[in-house]
């Protein structure tokens, strides 16, 4: 009984983890390769979900929606890159933070004007409808399992690209020593655009996949952005492997904390006191985790080689 509950929670943790990874991967690549802090990465996740709402309304088909939304997310990402981000690559981090914060304000409000303030939604595909019975009266939705699988597949694909291809080699080189890469005659601008477009697409993909589970609303990217930052900082900036492991770690810690923290406190506190303390501690657990990791390893678990 408790075992099943625990297993379900682990699945839930994994699912949050892969979702976070999809967002964090783009963030850590852009940060690692271009040394560019993109706060607007969260709104790109949001845009993915909103685009999916529109495309689902037009096509009524989930898979067509995914393809169209991804293409549109890529285009929008590149437009943003050309209009705004490009001009800030050689600025310091603070300028980047401010400029991308401006993008957040604009897009959050723009989305509200175009799609309205009310939460929206669209369903997942019919063939992934339904649930796998796990315990009596409770099934684990197939769509969520599909999400975990898709996320893991993405992670694997990303790992293959980064470790086995020429572009991947350049990305790794860029993360380790961008100046040297440029000196060797690599077209860094083009590499940047590829990395950026790729990151925007991953975030958009996460948004599209999250839509059928979560509600689509203005500002939905802000919380995810903070979590993604927590992930890449724990993992070590620029490291895909670190982001992957940290995403799963954060997903598991957050989910398991939320489900069991209050019960743990109930073992040695009054139920009412446990209800006070438990949720508060559970909410801050991932921040405690991050502070703890940084205390012992000030540059994260897997700092990219060559950076300090």
């Amino acid at each position: 009984m408790t075992g099943t509950l625990f297993a379900v929670q682990v699945l839930n943790g994994l699912q949050l983890g892969v979702l976070l990874f999809l967002v964090a991967a783009g963030l850590t690549l852009v940060f690692g390769v271009m040394d560019f802090i993109n706060l607007a990465h969260g709104v790109q996740y949001m845009l993915g979900a909103y685009l999916a709402v529109t495309f689902y309304g037009l096509t009524g088909n989930f898979f067509a929606t995914v393809v169209l939304a991804l293409a549109a997310a890529l285009v929008l990402g590149l437009v943003l890159e050309m209009l705004v981000f490009r001009h800030f690559y050689d600025r310091d981090h603070l300028d980047q933070v401010l400029a991308t914060f401006g993008v957040i304000l604009f897009l959050n409000e723009g989305v509200r004007i175009v799609w309205g303030a009310a939460p929206l939604s669209y369903p997942g595909p019919d063939i992934l409808d339904g649930a796998i019975p796990i315990m009596e009266g409770f099934g684990y939705p197939i769509y969520r399992i599909a999400l975990i699988v898709a996320g893991l597949a993405c992670a694997l694909g990303l790992w293959l690209v980064v470790t086995r291809t020429r572009v991947g080699m350049l990305i790794r080189a860029g993360a380790a020593n961008p100046a040297m890469l440029s000196a060797l005659g690599v077209d860094v601008r083009r590499l940047f655009m590829i990395v950026f477009g790729f990151g925007a697409m991953l975030a958009g993909f996460a948004g599209v996949m999250a839509g059928p589970i979560f509600s689509v609303e203005p500002g939905m990217g802000d919380g995810v952005l903070i979590l993604a930052f927590v992930v890449i900082v724990i993992g070590g900036i620029g490291s895909i492997r670190g982001a992957f492991l940290a995403a799963l770690l954060v997903g598991l810690v957050d989910t398991l904390g939320r489900s069991f923290m209050t019960d743990i406190f109930k073992l040695f506190l009054e139920p009412s006191a446990a209800n006070q303390v438990g949720p508060a501690i559970a909410s801050m657990l991932i921040y405690v985790l991050m502070a703890g990791v940084l205390f012992f390893r000030p540059t994260g678990l897997f700092p990219a080689a060559g950076r300090s």
């Binding site: 004007i113 930052f229 900036i237 303390v277 502070a291």
Partner: protein, 316 residues
């Protein structure tokens, strides 16, 4: 350097005089509410000033600075809830509480650099936020109404909008003066030196970590004072004061105004809040204007408003 310093003093004097002239002017023109608005602006200016001290001079980007404001505010709120209204006690208490929090979190955070420092300060800010949210005895997430303002030597002086205004103005002037003394001192030069070249400062015998920590605590205490003032201004405290968005607002103020000048932080706070107020008057969708405006400011007005006062070109 000396020319810079003089300019700083001139701008400070002009700004403070303008602040001092505002209440009578507002009263005379029938806009007494401006006094209330301007005292909030000055409170945020104090907070921005404290952030500039570590961000502008020490390159320590604290993304959890709102936590100090919140702790200062809660110190006043919780004291009032227990019947302690005496500002001569609660204000130092607020500063001490915020300073203590800065000491503990700073000791850990300052082991990290760059983005890692930004994120670990964010983490501590979030912890403070969730702690305040769970204080159900003090209103929890809804916040805590304070049924009155702090007393000064048992007199309800601050209840009056004008005297409160000038009290805030006095605090701002004092903090400004103190911050400029810190910056100009040997200690301040060590902080700036660590920003430029940490290893060299260590080599010539200054402990970078300890100096940065002291600066961090001073900054936290000043922000705590701003929090205590904010609690008196709103007669209300809430965990929302500590949200990460607020910390972000403070960073924007400092960068907008121009880092490492002190007066830039004050100008930034004024400009940011005024801009927000004016734009919000035009349309409820003011962020659609504010967002791109922010991008353009960063793009073309590099160095913030302070640069305009120095009369330098954008690439100078």
């Amino acid at each position: 350097m000396s020319e810079n310093l003089t300019r700083g003093w001139v701008i400070a004097a002009v700004l403070l005089l303008a602040f001092a002239a505002l209440p009578p002017l507002a009263e005379a023109t029938g806009h007494s509410y401006l006094t209330v608005v301007a005292s909030r602006v000055m409170i945020y200016a104090i907070a921005a000033l404290s952030l500039d001290l570590i961000l502008g001079y020490g390159a320590m980007v604290s993304f959890g600075h709102a936590a100090f404001i919140g702790i200062g505010a809660y110190a006043v709120g919780i004291s009032a809830e227990h019947g302690l209204w005496e500002g001569t006690l609660t204000f130092p208490l607020a500063m001490a509480a915020a300073g203590l929090f800065a000491l503990v979190t700073g000791a850990i955070s300052l082991r990290t650099r760059g983005v890692y420092f930004i994120m670990i300060t964010l983490a501590f800010g979030q912890m403070a936020y969730y702690t305040a949210s769970s204080l159900s005895a003090y209103g929890g997430d809804d916040g805590l109404t304070i049924w009155g303002r702090s007393e000064l030597f048992a007199s309800p002086l601050l209840e009056n909008e004008w005297s409160f205004y000038f009290f805030v103005l006095a605090c701002l002037s004092l903090c400004w003066w103190f911050a400029s003394r810190v910056v100009g001192s040997r200690f301040g030069r060590v902080i700036a030196g660590v920003r430029e070249n940490r290893a060299r400062m260590a080599a010539i015998g200054f402990d970078p970590y300890r100096h940065q920590l002291v600066a961090y605590v001073i900054s936290g205490m000043i922000a705590g004072l701003a929090g205590a003032l904010l609690a008196n201004h709103s007669e209300f405290v809430s965990p929302a004061y500590m949200s990460w968005q607020r910390s972000g607002d403070l960073i924007i103020m400092v960068v907008l105004g121009g880092m490492g000048t002190l007066y830039g932080a004050v100008l930034g706070a004024v400009a940011y809040l005024a801009l927000e107020d004016v734009l919000a008057g035009f349309t409820e969708h003011w962020r659609v204007i504010f967002g791109p405006l922010l991008i353009l400011i960063v793009l073309y007005a590099r160095g913030g408003i302070a640069r305009a006062f120095r009369g330098e070109g954008r690439d100078g």
